[in-house]
């Protein structure tokens, strides 16, 4: 059974239809990259997957949870599905350690000692063991984003969503974040990511999906998709250097 199953999803904002029947499956352990121009619907699709956006018709199932807007079911879904945002969204009033320990403590009743060990473990995974007691404001953008990834990992998600996580970063800081994501991918994490980093999509994602005008325009194994784009839209997009 796929970890993420999207079937004929339609979504509109008023009269504007942003997703026009999108279907996609992500198998457990698979890394799928969503690429496309701004406004192509890729971020909206990603946000539909964890219920941040409601959709009008179609079906989404993630890690065995059907996605709808019922608050209780959404919370259960989100215990299994992590998301990392472009703007990090760490909680500024909490230290790095507290940011990471909060959700396991209050949503899964993980005991303090266990949450502490968990936090140290995930911080080590993103290479920031020494920042446990720092406040987010005192970290660089790249470090904040790695903490955000660690915070998601502490929930032991079955699926991780990444929404343009390097787009707000200075070029010299994107590398450290991508490295962490690559490590996760190699460790077998199921990942669905929206990205502008074509190189990352080509080398790390097994499948790349090109979205255009609210539809999946073209998709396939990443190497093949980038080497031999079939549609003129993707050819232009790849040639334009992806911006």
């Amino acid at each position: 059974m796929p970890a993420v199953l999207i079937e004929d999803v339609h979504k509109s904002y008023g009269a504007l239809e942003v997703l026009k029947g999108v279907s996609l499956a992500v198998e457990p352990g698979q890394v799928v990259a969503l690429i496309g121009r701004s406004g192509s619907g890729k971020s909206t699709l990603l946000r539909c997957v964890n219920g941040l956006e409601a959709f009008q018709s179609g079906r989404i199932e993630v890690a065995g949870h059907a996605v709808d807007q019922d608050p209780k079911r959404l919370r259960d879904l989100r215990k299994d599905v992590g998301i990392v945002f472009q703007s990090y969204n760490l909680f500024p009033h909490l230290t790095v350690g507290q940011n990471i320990m909060l959700s396991p403590r209050i949503t899964k009743n993980v005991p303090q000692a266990e949450a502490l060990a968990l936090a140290k473990d995930v911080l080590a995974q993103v290479g920031l063991s020494d920042k446990f007691d720092s406040y987010p404001d005192n970290l660089s953008g790249g470090q904040q984003q790695r903490v955000a990834i660690a915070r998601s990992l502490a929930m032991k998600p079955k699926v991780m969503l990444f929404d343009e996580v390097t787009s707000a970063l200075d070029p010299e800081l994107t590398g450290e974040v991508l490295l962490v994501m690559e490590k996760l991918a190699k460790g077998g994490m199921t990942m669905l990511l929206v990205t502008h980093e074509m190189n990352f999509a080509r080398t790390v994602a097994s499948t790349t999906v090109f979205m255009h005008q609210g539809k999946i325009w073209e998709s396939g194994p990443s190497a093949q998709l980038f080497a031999a784009p079939q549609t003129p839209e993707l050819r232009n997009f790849v040639k334009a250097g992806a911006h």
């Binding site: 945002f85 969204n89 500024p92 959700s103 949503t107 929930m155």
Partner: protein, 217 residues
Amino acid sequence: MVTFGWPEAFFIFRAAGWTLLLTAIAFMIGGLMGGVLAILRLSRIKLLRRFAAGYILVIQSIPVLMVLFMSYYGLSLFGIELPPFFAASASLAIYVSAYLAEIWRGSIEAVPFQQWEASSSLAHSPAQTYRYVILPQAVRISLPPTVGFLVQLVKNTSIVSVVGFVELSRAGQLVNNATFQPFQIFTLVAAIYFAICFPLSRLSRHLEKVMNASRPH
């Protein structure tokens, strides 16, 4: 004729205590009400939102003096006699609640909506999101204007003298009626208000600076 001396000064100082007590009670009760109103104002349920908005609009649109008259004289028409201290505390609490509700609503709304998204994406319930993520940040944002409002409240308590409650201003008037030394007396009264309000104003300014310095960039 009585002259202004230690007993009179002592009378005024004791009245200053009532001003402080009245301020504290109005602030605490009004704060509790204001907190609830702020949350109602942001509720997902339209009726609750409307109710809170209506209450705030009405209270902010009438002088606190009228609230005071209504609770003191108005209710006595129906045979409900409120002691002056009670009527004064209640009226001021109502006044405080409407203003703090708006200050706090603004503070809650000033927390970026991405914090709500991040929190709910981590499977927090709406109550947990308020408790652990939004309110701690909103409180920081609200501290300078809240303390600033407290300064206004200290001064506005003088209004309750009209229902015969003897707080700082009223005590000054009474002593003056007996001694006819207005300059000395009201200088003392003003000095006491200043001694209460000045540190609070400075605290508000200080908090504002500290909060701005630590705002995420």
